[in-house]
């Protein structure tokens, strides 16, 4: 707040200059790290399998000479870093940082795979699957924070969706289970809306309470009822649906077009949400409510109703995403099975700068980190998986602190609106 008040053009320039230099040093540090660790310690070739068994067009393996590749990337990173210190670098700073980080990740993969074989397509497939709840969780946050309601309760909403999906799915089949999960998610959203909009409970407290309530209720019913009645926790799983023609494509077909309805559903929901928020009149109104509720109210927009609708729809999305955990993957509910995915969704929302597509991109990165974590054990790298699991959280703190770029929430975010 204080920054905005005092920031003239001079301040912005200075902040930008400092940021550009920070990114420069970061890229150079990355270059040194890649050269010393991944370059010097890589022996032999890294073999990436592109084809999976059963592919129509079998692609040959991608063979990368590990050490030379990593040295080349290190040199490239050093060049990117040096570039930051030249004039006019500020404009493209985040682009080059992005490219640099991507290349650094490839060197890591090459280093880890050096002298071994590794299925790249399989990993990308897992990345997309794991990104689904994170991207949708980020969308839930985006929908409600765009109307200035902070939603800390995403985790709890996911959990109740997963739980409902499992129980109703076991009783009445997958589709009805999915619908029930969406309804229960919507009810959770409505409950959050009622608490923060009508009863003016602090938004953070309401979110925390929703998380604790969902965890408590699902754990209680699971241990009290489901451990005795196993038939209530044995839901059918939605299998993969091939998209005609597209699913035959090499790599892409496997990764994108041989997935279950949750992946396709997520894509449709995210596209629809983007269209709604940025290309429709009601989306514009919703954003106005999030930026300046007083002004929106003056124009005749019903602030409370817009907030209720967005938060409830967000809850429905969370219910759908929650059903992914049970109906989309294992068909069974376990206590606390969402395991912090809702909070990573929150991080994805911040990374995506409160934009559905941005949240999706961030979710893909986090999903990649998530599936990489699983594969590290197979590749027997000396890097503990816990540090990879931490990476999204650390990156979020760095981003929120504005060390590299600044994520700016909607102006009225978190503030209750009290109509006079």
């Amino acid at each position: 707040m204080a920054v905005i008040e005092t920031a003239g053009p001079v301040h912005i320039d200075q902040a930008r200059r400092r940021q550009t230099l920070v990114i420069g040093w970061l890229l150079i540090a990355l270059a040194v790290f890649v050269a010393v660790v991944f370059g010097a310690e890589a022996y032999g070739d890294a073999t990436f399998r592109l084809a999976l068994p059963g592919d129509m067009i079998a692609l040959p393996n991608l063979v990368v000479p590990a050490a030379p590749y990593n040295y080349v990337v290190a040199a490239l990173l050093a060049f990117f870093g040096a570039r930051q210190f030249m004039r006019g670098a500020a404009r493209r700073a985040s682009l080059f940082l992005g490219i640099g980080l991507f290349l650094a990740v490839t060197t890591f993969l090459v280093w880890a795979t050096a002298g071994k074989e590794f299925s790249l397509t399989g990993m990308l497939e897992a990345t997309v699957v794991r990104a689904v709840p994170i991207a949708l969780g980020g969308l839930v946050g985006t929908l409600s924070e765009r109307v200035a309601v902070v939603n800390i309760g995403i985790e709890g909403m996911l959990l109740s969706g997963a739980f409902t999906g499992a129980i109703v799915g076991s009783l009445a089949g997958g589709w009805i289970g999915l619908v029930a999960a969406i309804i229960v998610g919507g009810l959770m959203g409505l409950a959050l809306g009622a608490l923060v909009i009508t009863y003016r409970v602090d938004q953070i407290i309401a979110g925390v309470a929703i998380n604790l309530f969902a965890l408590g209720l699902t754990s209680y019913v699971t241990s009290q009822v489901l451990t005795v009645h196993h038939q209530l926790n044995n839901a059918p799983i939605f299998g993969a649906v091939d998209i005609p023609l597209l699913s035959r494509l090499p790599i892409v077909g496997r990764v994108l077009f041989q997935q279950n309805i949750f992946v396709y559903g997520a894509a449709i929901i995210i596209a629809a949400a983007t269209y709604y928020l940025f290309h429709t009149r009601s989306g514009l109104r919703a954003r106005a409510v999030g930026e300046h509720p007083e002004a929106a109210d003056t124009l005749g927009i019903n602030v409370y109703r817009v907030r209720y609708i967005n938060v409830t729809v967000g809850g429905m999305v969370a219910g759908f995403a929650g059903a992914w955990f049970t109906l989309g993957s294992v068909g069974r509910f376990d206590i606390n099975m969402t395991n912090g995915r809702g909070f990573i969704g929150l991080a994805a929302m911040i990374f995506g700068r409160w934009h559905p597509v941005g949240a999706l991109m961030a979710a893909l990165v986090f999903g990649f980190a998530d599936s990489l974590q699983q594969k590290l054990a197979i590749l027997q790298t000396p890097i503990p998986s816990e540090f990879l699991a931490m990476a999204p959280y650390i990156a979020t703190i760095v981003l929120v602190a504005g060390l590299i770029g600044r994520a700016r929430p909607p102006a009225a975010d978190g503030k209750p609106y009290i109509k006079d």
Binding site: V150, V201, I204, L217, T222, G340, E386, Y393, A401, G402
Partner: protein, 376 residues
């Protein structure tokens, strides 16, 4: 308009007048009662018969206050949650929302356990304070980071503390699987045991060796007094409260808001770290994943229920300790899973945080005050 909402928000968050009987007594008591009734509804819905529900609540009471052993368990469970809640309450008073007590407890516990098994041959009077201090220091650092980030860059403490909680969980899982923390010869994530010289002494073993109550409860009461003194009797505490009630006014009065944020967070973290230390040095004797038992999150409820007042926090902490201790008895005696307690606790948060909801649902309970003040 903006000022108004700001101060109103601060008011509802923390600084409720000491004489506001309605807020201090009626809302919390009603909240607990309604949460218990709804808890009964949940039991009914999951096939527990009405007599069994009565038995469950009897067991809940019996297991929390019904005997000396029960009181010992209640106070043992109350200590960590009260300590962490004191820190959160301090933050509320200063207008800070420290969701990170869980993470601060974790790092505090890990630091305390490390100090607790590392130094051989020290006497208790040196080793125990050392281990407690290690826990407080780790918690303080873990909390000062989001405080500093907020002061220096404006990063919101809710987001940063949530992320630091999750990082602390991963850190635990890593540290407990690797030397030096992992117990030698074990493959599961578990720490080495705290040496006897660093354990909080048991207080009631002279009556019955099974009683687990430890000196942590004494530390807790001391901290309640200390925080009361800090908040209401020192200049620093005045600055905390002023920054929470009206940040711009506090700034214009010459208070250094950035420094205050960092100091408040560090003290809150030290208290949460102490809570973690209390858990490993007093109750468990070692650290394992989830050793906090979620006390860092329950502490948010306790701070709210206690109206951010140290004495209120102590009472609310004892209530939550009672629910925990009684819940175990309830599980054994009535076959109702202890997870029910988590539902009741989360409902208590909702009702305490929503006085408007309580007012709408139970208008008769609030009549007394409204009449006296000439209606509202």
């Amino acid at each position: 308009m903006r000022q108004e909402t700001l101060s109103e928000e601060a008011l509802t968050r923390a600084a409720v007048s000491r004489f506001d009987f309605e807020q201090l007594a009626i809302v919390p008591v009603l909240a607990v009662v309604v949460a218990m009734i709804l808890g009964g509804g949940v039991m009914l819905a999951t096939g527990v018969t009405v007599p069994m529900i009565g038995q469950a609540y009897l067991a809940l009471f019996d297991g929390s206050f019904g005997s000396l052993a029960a009181v010992s368990e209640t106070l043992t469970a109350a200590a960590p949650v009260t300590l962490a809640a004191l820190g959160i309450a301090l933050g509320f008073r200063a207008g800070l929302f420290n969701i990170g007590a869980e993470g601060q407890m974790i790092v505090g516990g890990l630091a305390a356990v490390t100090a607790g098994f590392s130094f051989h041959g020290l006497p208790l009077v040196v080793h125990l304070p050392l281990a407690l201090l290690a826990g407080m220091l780790a918690g303080a650092i873990w909390a000062a980071v989001p405080g500093w980030l907020k002061a220096a860059t404006g990063a919101h403490e809710v987001i940063t503390t949530i992320m630091l909680n999750l990082i602390a969980v991963q850190l635990t899982s890593f540290l407990l699987r690797n030397p030096p923390l992992q117990k030698p010869g074990r493959h599961d994530p578990i720490s080495a045991s705290v040496l006897p010289s660093a354990q909080l002494p048991k207080l009631l073993t002279w009556i019955d060796p099974g009683l687990r109550l430890n000196a942590g409860i004494i530390i807790t009461v001391l901290m309640v007094i200390l925080v009361y003194w800090l908040l209401f009797r020192t200049t620093l505490g005045f600055e905390f409260r002023a920054s929470g009630l009206n940040p711009p006014a506090a700034r214009y009065a010459g208070m250094r808001s950035g420094l205050i944020i960092v100091v408040v967070m560090a003290i809150a973290g030290a208290l949460a770290g102490l809570a973690g230390a209390n858990q490993v040095l007093g109750v468990l004797g070692r650290a394992s994943p989830g050793f906090t038992g979620g006390a860092g999150f329950n502490a948010i409820a306790v701070a709210l229920l206690g109206r951010s007042h140290p004495v209120g926090v102590l009472l609310a902490g004892i209530l939550f300790g009672a629910l925990d201790a009684g819940g175990r008895q309830m599980q054994v005696m009535a076959g109702v899973r202890i997870d029910l307690i988590a539902i009741i606790q989360s409902l208590i948060i909702v009702f305490v945080a929503a006085p408007l909801l309580m007012r709408a649902a139970f208008p008769w309970a609030f009549g007394f005050n409204a009449r006296r003040q000439g209606g509202r």
